[in-house]
Amino acid sequence: MARTWVQALVVINRHDELGAPIRHYKGDWFPCRGRELAQLLSQSKVALPGHSHPVQTAQVGEVGIVTESASTALKGAKCEISYVPGLTLPYEKTLIYRDGPIRPELIPVAFGLLDSWELLVPLWTFSEDATMIGTEKDRALTREVIGELRVPVYDTRQLYALRCPAVERLFKTWEVEKDKLPEGDERLAFLRALYVTPMLILALPPSWSVKDAL
């Protein structure tokens, strides 16, 4: 991952690439990357280019969360939240959150990853695959499309999505697949839709949602 320029929101003491101590004052711009960048973002100590304070008060239209109703799981998320039902992309980078545990400190990291990927989705678990969920009818329908059910299942309750043609097409296809079997498992419908929409999807380990998971 290339270095990213960030702006200090507080005084930051760190080391440069040669190990020399360096101090950045509020407003200073400096390059960093990787884990250090993720930590600084999650601690709200830096802002990304193009945002006045994206981590604390995201600009409307840039990054934000879409959810249907207020959730305590999102407490600590430092970006705008819109209460909208369905698969909508009001922001350039949107977390569509519907349920389940989430780690708010990783939300800005995920938005950063959307510079390289079109969609980020955590895996449901490592111990369950698509053969183990849904009804027989649902699985048969899914097997017909994707050919193989021994595949990991995505946790579709939380999707980090870039507003782009691939994601828009995926979401439309997903709705169509859900309509085919309204009582079906939406995770299987997601697999069917994804299969026919090759795209830049980054699967995240379940520990993205639950800290102590694998």
Binding site: S116, F126, G147, C164
Partner: protein, 218 residues
């Protein structure tokens, strides 16, 4: 790939299984000297690296196929279902691979400390999904399938996969040992359409591909 006597022996067992399960699939073997195995294409490459990693990292230029399934020497094909990987590639996916069974605290646990720590420090993603590169299907076709990418990626699988392998080689050369952390570092710089298969396709007791990890080193 067959480099050294243990790997050459393992390839023999692996070929037997493969030919039994998928007799119609053409097979190529990358090696540094002639082998006794017949009915396959042998591709010679002198490998300079630990565990013949360099040959693996050059698969995109060595493979004679447009759609390739790469198998480590210590794998055993247990089912005809391996063809499913090719079907997925035909749908427009660039790489089909299986998550490693080592995740979480075991992430990159097979690496030496320096590479592990430096990898974790350099990655944007602090908790990546580790992938097991001993079994993978990759696409070198020039068909433009799937959605046009919003992120300005090259338009064909061939371009994306070549670019990925180029990055993988460059990342591997930083430490010249294992390939998995280099793979994750390279993926952060790549634009690949990756479809995941489950552990039955690459694990110790996989029902489609059994992976007898480490057998080729004995």
């Amino acid at each position: 790939m067959a480099y050294g006597a243990p790997a050459l022996r393992e390839v023999g067992h692996s070929l037997l299984r493969l030919k039994k399960m998928a007799p119609d699939l053409p097979v190529a073997l990358i090696c540094d000297e002639p082998t006794p195995y017949t009915g396959i294409k042998q591709i010679y490459l002198k490998d300079r690296s630990y565990g013949a990693r360099w040959a693996k990292l050059n698969l995109d230029t060595l493979t004679p196929f447009e759609r390739t399934l790469y198998l480590d020497a210590d794998t055993r094909v247990m089912s005809r279902d391996i063809v499913q990987g090719f079907e997925i590639l035909k749908e427009g996916w660039d790489l089909v691979i299986v998550p490693s069974q080592n995740q979480g605290k075991d992430l990159f646990s097979h690496l030496d400390r320096t590479e592990r720590e430096e990898t974790l420090a350099s990655l944007w993603n602090p908790r990546p999904l580790q992938l097991q590169a001993g079994v993978m299907w990759f696409n070198l076709t020039t068909e433009t399938l799937g959605s046009p990418s919003a992120s300005g990626t090259p338009g064909t699988s061939k371009e994306r996969v070549h670019k990925f392998f180029e990055l993988w080689r460059a990342e591997w050369e930083k430490y010249e040992r294992h390939d998995q952390a280099a793979l994750i570092r390279a993926l952060e710089e790549s634009s690949l359409r990756i479809w995941l298969l489950g552990h039955e396709y690459n694990s110790r007791h996989g029902k489609v591909i059994e992976h007898l990890f480490g057998r080729a080193k004995l």
